[in-house]
């Protein structure tokens, strides 16, 4: 991993590389990006001829459930959780041919995690791919939530947007359980405690 001032940390990403290999030769796809809109991602993905749908999932989560200590408790309210799902995903005009979920799923309570993964499953077309990241430092009480900006097919710029307490630690078996309805899950370990997951719908 090599540091770079304002751009954040620039690092290679095997998951991203695999993700783009799957998209190769398929222009004009509809891709869902759950990070805040960024020039880098828009330029790169639009440059490949894809249409991008942006939804800053973490900000929406904070706006809806509040960023305080009741954050996870509020998410466990089934009615509230369902209302959030309706506001966030139901108005999306799918289906999508791919999704960039980044590290969003770590900040969800069990109820919300299940609902979100089910929505992603519903929105993605069969054989499409989804890229998700999970921090794998078991001892860390907080983990950095980040902006992920695509530099090229295999390189990401990662810029911290604050530290957050994840609801739970995602082990490999747990991740496999979370995506049990998907066709396959590939995991890529990195040196910076960030596990990259490529999920096939």
């Amino acid at each position: 991993m090599s540091p770079s001032a304002a751009e954040g940390t620039i690092r290679p990403s095997a998951g991203l590389e695999q993700y783009f290999q799957q998209l190769q030769g398929r222009p004009t796809l509809r891709l869902l990006d759950l990070s805040p809109v960024s020039q880098a991602n828009v330029s790169f993905l639009a440059g490949l001829g894809h249409r991008l749908y942006c939804e800053d999932f973490l900000s929406s989560l904070d706006d809806f459930f509040g960023g305080d200590e009741d954050f996870y408790q509020s998410q466990e309210n089934p009615a509230r959780a369902q209302e959030f799902m309706n506001l966030t995903f139901r108005q999306l005009e799918g289906p999508f041919h791919g999704a960039l979920v980044w590290d969003c799923l770590q900040y969800l309570s069990p109820t919300m995690l299940e609902l979100t993964v089910a929505e992603l499953h519903r929105l993605l077309v069969p054989d499409s791919f989804m890229l998700a990241f999970f921090h794998n430092d078991e001892r860390a009480k907080t983990v950095p939530a980040s902006y992920y900006r695509i530099q090229d097919y295999r390189t990401l710029s990662i810029q911290e947007r604050g530290r957050r307490t994840p609801y739970q630690f995602f082990t490999n078996p747990f991740i496999e359980r979370v995506f049990r309805d998907f066709t396959s899950v590939k995991m890529y370990l990195t040196r910076d405690h960030l596990r990259e997951i490529l999920v096939k719908r």
């Binding site: 809109v37 960024s38 942006c54 800053d56 999306l92």
Partner: protein, 188 residues
Amino acid sequence: MWNRRKEEESPRPATLSSPPVAPMEGMPVSTTPTGYQGSRTTATIGENVLIAGQIFAKEDLVIDGQIDGTIELLENKVTIGKTARVKATVKARDVVIHGTVHGNVEASDKIDLRRDAHLVGDIRAARIAIEDGAIFKGSIDVTKVEVPKAAPRPATSATPAPAATPPATTTASAPAQTMAAAANEHKR
């Protein structure tokens, strides 16, 4: 997606051919150069102006007020200022957004989302620039937008009709038909 593009297919309401109404005296709609622009003549919709209806212009426009309806400047640039709250479909040659917009935005050339921009809607343009900090929810389609030539219109920048002017703010209301058109627009 967010605001479906069905409105594009709908015929233009009859009010388009209605004679333009000159801005009310004292209403802060001006055609003086503003801080957002260079030396070109630019119309401005002031911070305390509310327009419900349709805006067509053949000159650049700066919006600092509140607009509910549609905005079309097919050959010109619209700048949506920091204080603006726009609930409208926006079509222009160039669109620069500093404020809040709910609605689809289409530019034949460029859309510029500045760091204070808050846009919920689909955007489509040949070029898109996004500053860090801009908030956006919707789809992005970077493509050449074919813009039909604007139909000949009276040379007005905005067509608000006379309305009651409350003491604190100036509110311009469009004619009833235009209001209905705008209401239908929202229902879609």
